[in-house]
Assembly symmetry: C2
Homo-oligomer: 610 residues x 2
């Protein structure tokens, strides 16, 4: 068999196997797989440099299915290269199977989960950035994109950044099959419309017939000649290619074929071809950044320092100690103090401009290669990347996020800049860690702790300076809490800004004969349930106070910790009206989360108890 | 004074007033205001057709500051047109003032809140769509954009949609002042880089010197000649224009000037010019869609119908009854059943393709003009638009969202498609309503109820068919709940999919002598605290069960409702491990939220109580 004939046969096998596994499952996306089969056959046979037997080899190319619904094609490829066998392929979408409905990293050859469209390309851009600037290895990042997903703004963020960063190790194979889920895409087969956009962003564009083996070969070869520009191979294809019943017809998205046996026959029957992609030949090891070591920053108790500033100093110091730590920021590094890291470690700092989706996606891409990203912006603007954070958990990504300017305590800038939903959003991410320090030394400890934790880690910091109440050598284990003041009448639970208000409230209450216990709940998730339960047993009730909407934040965290055993009264103080501008003190007062409000609520609670 | 001299003087006044109000506040963004002053002076004086005395006039043009941080300029404009007086201008950023740090609709001339960058243009595209296809009035939508915010993918979604929809009533004035918050933008003053992108998306582009009154006049005049293409006026400007100390210099973003008096002198001193924008002259009234009336759909108890399908039928029927109801969908209308609305009311249906940010933004834009948008996609993918939903609340937007395919109960598609954080995210939106029906007739009632509610309303629906357990005439008030089965031993609380599992669990427990009360908590927010408290008093404890992560969902809603008074044990059943693919039954079982798990937890709870 000559090369192109082999590829044709291999592509037909990929189609047949896509039909077979989705028909066995009774669901899935065979037609979206069939359109890209020729592209993938060519990629596997002569272009991809990936040792499937050693998926952890740092020199390997990466292959991301941004159109994750084409998972039947991916799994058919894995079978063709011998990574999985036919029996496993045929467990597609079964309970407990690794070949899930959409790809996830339970398969060692899958770097990141996809299936939420428009994520694979920005993540691929992050991986390509890692290749160029961190690993400094010549691996390529191949991303199979659908045309429908090009409607996502995140794709354009990726185009923009990849062009700007000259990521010629990033190659997007765009399967322009014209048909979305419900009908034709905006641009159909108008390749030129995509080409103009990509070119404008600094990409090299190759337009081909995605079913013509010769054109594909020429394009892939061409794409490998890096000239400083990322490459988009725009391939006009037909959805359901090869089976007349469904080819280029609407109405067959996301469905197993009605007549799979006939389709398989039409495709030439079941084959058992094997293909062995090239192994990476580069001898280089990943680049290692030299570090100078040194301690963590320490702050003098009694001074006032913003926790966001302590974050910046801690991050810089972490970078001094660990070469794997990298930082990304959404063009607010003088607000998040990520600039301190940038100044000390410019090689490991990534300016992501005002593109929070791309920022989080790049972090996900970098952690694939073992780097430890810290991505920062205003906490409110992490909401822009919430789908990426959600999917990072499905990707089993290990990464750190820092959101500054939390709550009404930011003051004059007003509600658009105030994160009041971030605790709820970040808690509701599987396996996440949510930390909210109240002082500079605590911030340092928690920032350092985050760097060793798996999953999505989130640190919430405040804009204004807060008193340093802890010594620099105190320890704050994740999952712990701190009883800052003892008392048995009532418990006040705060964190961050509100811990200081709670302490002040306790001082107000003391002369009235009310001894308040104050708990610093710096670890919102995981939470120190034992200390909270003890407080529930030993005091007359709890007042929780948070600079956050009442839903899903600190108060509900406390309620959850106490739920199973029955609880004393818990009063949840939180922001319940839409704030405007004002001084921090005015806004904390208006929201009813300042010291006076906490004291009043504690009195009220004790009155009903007595 | 000739026209251009007047404009120059007016622009200087806008600069001076921007300096004055931000200096009085001690914060704000004067330099970001000064760069765009010439553009705004020209717009007010001869181009904007807006009757500031009648901001509700449907014929008015709309002016959106997508770069919301240029609020000093906006407020200076409002003073120049006589909408606010100088005294109010000087309350900038004060507690209780309408002139907040970033614009919000507490000012009647502000349609939507901005300040989260990259939102004004997509919202403007929605307003422009409303102008073309709903109101059918010739108003224009002027959007002042910054150059930094063009890095947001949402801006490219807006470019894409506006081009595709031929919105020549949309004019973006892009203030290319080169400098972001921390330094130069990706493209600096390279207007051509932006121009190529916008042209590729079908826009007409005019490149000008943004400080040259003649070029501005020519461009604005030109922009008004609609030729089927939206218009981007790319204006090269200087940040801090007019004050040498700050002009075109980095390091002055978001700060009051250090020497305001000198700056005001350099700008020619305080002026008190007035400008009266043209009033709209069109006589037309907004288009009114004729409706045929008719009842709401009804489903036969005992049959099985997916709640997403009931949503589609309800929405179609709502459209039959109300001409103000419009629908938008993210290219999944055959999954959300928004296609039923599309088929019946194609003029009021908007295909937003796979661009969830633009979908929500368009809904926000349309409700500005009094339309009632229903925007739908998979619930998981609403997370893509979370910042837009958050900001919609700040915008005081009245709109409806529907998210389908909630939870592990979707089955084989796997975690990327499963919404497991949507209740937490949507609850934590100020003033939101969160509804989660379990059957088709309930879905119909709640869909209809949403259409009359203010704020952000969210309906969560399920993929699979569920038994119709309620009659078509039963009522389900928002904020209510339904005791579906009586019992005094234990209370089971579910909603949606899990209500059926809870009912089944009660049937399992009954022969064991355990009489379980089952509550259908279809209204997650606001919640029926009274019924929950009664159950807490009358039964031995509660088991809550939700197809959602444990954080911020139904369980914590129940805990919050019971918090103030002290509560019996509450056991929260929720999804606690990362699901894969499988059948709905397998995945509900694995997550421990199926009937057997609920029954087991109830037994356990009662054991510890007895």
């Amino acid at each position: 068999m000559d090369h192109l004939t082999f590829r044709y046969e291999l592509a037909q096998q990929l189609r047949v196997d896509s039909v077979r596994c989705s028909s066995a499952a009774g669901s899935g996306h065979p037609t979206s797989s069939m359109s890209a089969a020729d592209l993938l056959a060519a990629l596997l046979d002569g272009h991809l440099r990936l040792d499937f037997e050693n998926p952890g080899d740092p020199r390997n190319d990466h292959l991301i299915f941004s159109k994750g619904h084409a998972s039947p094609l991916l799994y058919s490829c894995l079978k063709a290269v011998g990574a999985i066998d036919d029996a496993e392929l045929m467990t597609f979408r079964e309970f407990g199977s690794r070949v899930e409905g959409h790809p996830t990293p339970v398969l060692p050859w899958v770097d990141v989960a996809t299936g939420s469209l428009g994520q694979g390309l920005p993540i691929g851009a992050g991986l390509a950035l890692a290749g160029k600037r961190l690993d400094r290895l010549p691996y390529r990042v191949w991303v199979l994109c659908g045309d429908s997903e090009l409607a996502e703004g995140s794709v354009w963020e990726a185009l923009e950044h990849a062009g700007f960063e000259q990521l010629d190790n990033l190659i997007a194979l765009v399967d322009v099959n014209r048909l979305g889920q419900t009908g034709q895409t905006m641009h159909g087969w108008d390749l030129e419309s995509y080409a103009a956009r990509a070119r404008a962003a600094g990409w090299r564009v190759l337009e081909i017939d995605g079913h013509d083996p010769e054109q594909i070969e020429t394009a892939l070869k061409d794409a490998e000649d890096g000239d400083g520009r990322p490459v988009a191979v725009l391939a006009a294809t037909k959805k359901g290619r090869g089976v007349a019943e469904v080819e280029d017809k609407p109405g067959f998205h996301g469905k197993a074929l009605v007549h799979p046996d006939e389709a398989i026959e039409e495709l030439g029957g079941i084959r058992d071809l094997r293909v062995t992609p090239a192994k990476p030949t580069a001898r280089a090891q990943p680049h290692v950044f030299e570090v100078r070591g040194g301690g963590l920053p320490a702050f003098e108790p009694g001074t006032e320092v913003a926790t966001r500033k302590a974050y910046g100093e801690a991050l810089r110091a972490l970078g001094d100690r660990r070469g794997d730590v990298v930082a990304l920021d959404g063009e607010v590094s003088n607000s998040t103090f990520a600039e301190m890291f940038r100044e000390a470690h410019p090689d490991r700092y990534f300016e992501m401009y005002i593109a929070e989706q791309q920022m989080v996606a790049a972090a996900v891409g970098m952690q694939v290669r073992g780097w430890r990203p810290f991505a920062s912006t205003f906490a409110a603007f992490l909401s822009r990347a919430y789908d990426f954070i959600r999917m990072a958990a499905v990707s089993r990504a290990d990464m750190c996020l820092m959101g500054s300017h939390a709550g009404v305590a930011i003051g004059e800038d007003g509600p658009s800049q105030m994160a009041l939903e971030d605790l709820a959003a970040l808690r509701a991410v599987h396996g996440s860690t949510v930390l909210y320090p109240c002082d500079a030394n605590q911030t340092v400890q928690l920032t350092a702790a985050m760097a060793d934790r798996s999953g999505v880690n989130y640190l919430r910091t405040s804009r204004g300076a807060t008193p340093v109440i802890y010594g620099p050598d105190e320890e704050f284990p994740v999952g712990g809490s701190r009883v800052v003041r003892d008392g048995d009448d009532v418990t006040l639970v705060g964190a961050g800004i509100t811990l200081h208000e709670a302490l002040h409230a306790a001082e107000i209450l003391a002369p009235e004969g009310i001894q308040a216990r104050v708990i610093d709940l710096y670890s919102i998730k995981p939470v120190d349930a034992a200390t909270l339960r003890r407080a529930a047993e030993e005091t007359g009730g709890l007042v929780t106070v948070e600079d956050h909407w009442p839903e899903g934040g600190l108060g509900e965290t406390v309620l959850s910790a106490l739920a199973g055993v029955g609880a004393p009264p818990v009063r949840v103080l939180a922001v319940r009206i839409m704030p405007g501008s004002g001084t921090p003190a005015e806004l904390l007062g208006q929201a009813g989360i300042d010291a006076a409000s906490i004291a009043a609520e504690a009195r009220e609670l004790l009155k009903t108890r007595r």
